[in-house]
Homo-oligomer: 156 residues x 2
Amino acid sequence: MKIGDKMPNNQEQFKDLLRTNGLKVTYQRIAILEVLSNRPGEHLTAEEIYDLVKAEYPDIGLATVYRTIQLLSDLNLIDKLNLDDGYVRYEIGRKNREECHHHHHLICLECGNIYAFQDDLLENLEERIKETLGFEVEDHEVKLYGHCKECINEKA
Amino acid sequence: MKIGDKMPNNQEQFKDLLRTNGLKVTYQRIAILEVLSNRPGEHLTAEEIYDLVKAEYPDIGLATVYRTIQLLSDLNLIDKLNLDDGYVRYEIGRKNREECHHHHHLICLECGNIYAFQDDLLENLEERIKETLGFEVEDHEVKLYGHCKECINEKA
DNA sequence: CTTAGTGCAAAGCTTTTGCACTGCA
DNA sequence: TGCAGTGCAAAAGCTTTGCACTAAG
């Protein structure tokens, strides 16, 4: 992967966003966003992102990856996912992809694969919570653990 | 708090459970479960549990707290909660308390308080997922972030 | 030029592990 | 008495930070 190979439009938007926020456009920042952009739906750890970027830009440092991840997260360009396995994972943000605005995770306990799915069901729930408890929901994180189709079939 | 002050019945059940599993009954294990039992709905870190137990049993070691937490979790007596603040938290398990079998968390972004609520809504969702995706849900974790009643009122 | 951003290495943090000792059964 | 359980300290492993250097604007 080389900068500019894919999503040039998205990339320009990113550069503008950086400039708008008084931040500098660096190849490290672009490369990291690019790596994540080219892998929608994948959930990468900092180390994995580091390795992927390093393949193209061997000079990058792990600390920069961590700092950039933080930055991208603050800019709402990427989403965090914690699977309680000791790593924090990141994926390119929902808001940049057409399909989904409500997006949850199905985690297979056998193969470890992660599936995404959309659902509006929680909107009812959030309204109900507002009425019952006076709690105003702003964001949510839903993780469903179980057994995926493939693993179920394999056992049969 | 002293061993035996509260929930003696629950405590006997715990001792039996340990024996049944070929595990030894130690004052450390009882004290840790006791601390959590006396604080239903609170979400304590290992360090917090350590400090609470230490008040009564100054000899206890932090490593024992970690090992016992693991044990209690394996025995399904306590539930894990990760708020992504660098600590893993624990609370006395749902299965030991009458009220709830479906139990989610409302986390206030302003005061940090955590509220629990029950809901069966997800059962529909799980059925739908099974039908649509063939994914069999076994467990779920739902965290809703927002603003609690108190914090909303305070601003008014 | 100016200073935000970077790379490197060291430090920080929670959590885990090794090992000798203790105490439950 | 025998071995699971414990306490202590050290190790582990992810993430953050300090600092001198680099490069964006």
